[in-house]
């Protein structure tokens, strides 16, 4: 008897071959039969009703490091069909991490990934220092699979302490980091992450940025012993620097036989040749035998924000950013103060024009304001868009939310062909991060909605392959990403005519009622992880904890 029998499916098996109709049988957490008509009993029957049956989606760029410790379902990623996530990106991971370094690393997470205090403070018990103990802490609570990276920054902190953010490592320290990384990889780390752009809450570069080329080369030699991934965040705001990073990654890839990936790569009207120049260089390096995978996200860059938190939106406005980081009462007082208010407005609108006129009110107690631009409201009320933003926020006790939409990467005729490119790794969702600036969930649904159904830039089978078997192959994740007998039974059933992402919604489902933005899924029927139904449209989340740490 099978555990699960999925009948009447349109099987898209992850290889890219044309879809075909058939059944799918699951037993003992594995796919037993794929295709054909199965006339056998099963404990659980799923009628796919002609909908697509595909491998579970794999998200290669997330920051669920902390959330997984209180939410093993990584909500709402799972209901979007994601069955495996890579976390620990961008040089930041929660292991290996000495107890004494926890506050420092938490502050970096808060600064870089916009995670609230409540995400770390009392939301889980710190039971580990070493990587293997962190992996043990994850096991048993997971409803989806995880592939954790070891972060370069905590690795440096472990070996160098405070000096990790200030100088080059000595040869002895480099050897100690190599040994520590080796232990992480032996415990199941899927690779190493590093960053060239991030900074801490004091605007100091994170520890990984103090590493000289020799240090990273030494660490990559350890990755080479295991054939594991190096992930980096390059200076994506400059094409020339990104190309320099590609060349560095290519040399590391060739020297040590490792795959490398960088994220993000954006299309932008301010850098119109960025993607083409970067992809040309990537192609040249692949032709040499290097593996340098650019990660490209599917969704446009939208930022939502309120004055409740210091949003990423304000990071290029130092005065605003500084005030938004004050305690709530001081923040409110600052925005109410006439002199401060004027200085803030002048900082944005010097010269008389405002860059914020097209921003919209996305949520307000005054329904008549919702959807209107700040420029429009400013005309009606008098004042300027920045003044309106402040006044509305103060009037509603910071309850009003704003939306800066389509800040880039929003032209489907440019993004679509990029996503379809064979050398592009579809990813970079950032799920679990920036939770108070935008919803990082639903990128997979958006891929099918906008680039398969609407724009036809990718076929259904191509799109499935991009986020399943290709991802597994790039990262060396064994046994997943394909529907074939014997493979792990990670399966998603969805309606290709309706799969998509819902509206962005502010919710308060973080620890201590902390706020974040999420998107619900549409068109997903069921999500199966290692042979157990983890979510279904009919019943929602189940109690299955069949997820596991993926061992490369």
């Amino acid at each position: 008897m099978l555990d699960i029998l999925i009948r009447n499916g349109r099987i898209v098996d992850g290889t890219g071959i044309p879809a075909y109709h058939g059944d799918l049988g699951i037993e003992g957490g594995r796919l037993r039969q794929v295709g054909g008509h199965l006339n056998v009993d099963a404990r659980h029957m799923v009628d796919a009703g002609g909908h697509v049956v595909a491998p579970g989606f794999i998200d290669p760029h997330t920051h669920f490091d902390a959330q997984l410790l209180w939410d093993g379902q990584a909500r709402p990623a799972l209901e979007h069909g994601v069955t495996t996530v890579v976390h620990g990106n961008c040089s930041l991971s929660l292991a290996p991490l000495k107890a004494a370094h926890r506050p420092r690393l938490v502050r970096m997470f808060q600064q870089i990934e916009e995670m609230p205090d409540a995400a770390f403070d009392g939301a889980f018990e710190w039971t580990w220092e070493a990587f293997d103990a962190y992996v043990d802490a994850l096991r048993g609570r997971l409803s989806l699979n995880v592939a954790p990276l070891a972060g370069h920054s905590p690795l440096r902190m472990w070996v160098m302490g405070e000096e990790a953010q200030g100088r080059a490592a000595t040869p002895d320290e480099t050897r100690a980091m190599q040994q520590l990384l080796r232990e992480c990889l032996e415990a199941g780390a899927i690779g190493l992450s590093t960053s060239y752009v991030d900074f801490d809450e004091n605007m100091r570069p994170v520890p990984s940025r103090y590493a000289h080329a020799e240090e990273l080369d030494a660490l990559c030699s350890v990755l080479g012993d295991f054939g594991r991934m190096l992930q980096v965040v390059p200076e994506f705001y400059s094409t020339d620097i990104t190309i320099a990073r590609i060349d560095q990654l290519a040399e590391l890839s060739l020297a040590h036989g490792i795959p490398t990936t960088f994220s993000p790569l954006f299309d932008s009207v301010t850098m119109p040749a960025n993607v083409s120049r970067v992809l040309d260089r990537v192609a040249e390096q692949f032709a040499r035998g290097a593996r340098v995978w650019p990660q490209v996200q599917t969704r446009p860059i939208d930022i939502s924000f309120s004055f409740e938190v210091a949003s990423l939106f304000f990071v290029t406005q130092p005065m605003w950013y500084m005030i938004l980081r004050l305690p709530r009462e001081q923040r409110l007082a600052a925005f109410r103060d006439a002199a401060t208010r004027k200085s803030l407005i002048d900082a944005v609108e010097a010269g008389g024009s405002s860059p914020w006129g097209e921003l919209r009110v996305r949520d307000s107690a005054d329904a008549s304001l919702i959807g209107r631009t700040l420029g429009d409201i400013a005309e009606e009320r008098g004042g300027s868009p920045a003044a309106v933003m402040i006044d509305l926020s103060v009037e509603e006790d910071f309850g009003v939310h704003f939306l800066s939409a389509s800040m880039g990467h929003d032209d489907p005729s440019r993004v679509g062909p990029t996503l379809a490119n064979d050398l592009v790794h579809v990813g970079a969702s950032d799920a679990g991060a920036h939770i108070q600036s935008f919803a990082t969930y639903g990128d997979t649904g958006y891929l099918f909605d906008r680039f398969v159904r609407d724009g036809r830039y990718l076929s259904l089978e191509h799109a499935v392959r991009k986020i399943t078997s290709e991802t597994a192959q790039i990262w060396g994740i064994p046994d997943r990403g394909l529907l074939k007998p014997g493979a792990a039974a990670d399966v998603v059933v969805f309606d290709p005519e309706t799969i998509g992402r819902g509206a962005e919604l502010p919710v308060t489902d973080m620890p201590e009622n902390g706020m974040r933005y999420v998107r619900d899924a549409s068109g997903i029927d069921a999500v199966i992880v290692n042979g157990e139904v983890a979510w279904s449209a009919a019943d929602g989340y189940t109690e299955a904890t069949s997820g596991n740490v993926v061992l490369p």
Binding site: T194, R209, A244, A273
Partner: protein, 83 residues
């Protein structure tokens, strides 16, 4: 496979400052003039706080943007979309 020409760069050696890098990559130039050239080609480092401070992993260009590449972008750390 021949790689197309891209903008030349170096990364700092341990303990190198602008002066040392200038001497390494532009040895024929007077040091102060070489430093000024390097700084003008690396505006992304001058936008930092403190200005001009670089770390061991930074890229330092040793020539101006190549013609036809759209020029250098004096970007800032931490622009929206930053990871």
């Amino acid at each position: 496979m021949t790689l197309s020409r891209q903008r030349g760069f170096v990364t700092p050696e341990p303990n190198e400052d602008w002066r040392a890098i200038a001497a390494r990559v532009l040895p024929a130039e007077p040091t102060d003039a070489a430093i000024e050239k390097l700084r003008s080609w690396n505006l992304h480092l001058l936008a930092r706080n403190p200005p001009g401070e670089f770390t061991g992993s930074d890229v330092l260009f040793v020539e101006p943007p190549l013609e036809g590449t759209g020029g250098a972008l004096p970007g800032l750390d931490g622009v929206p979309g930053d990871d």
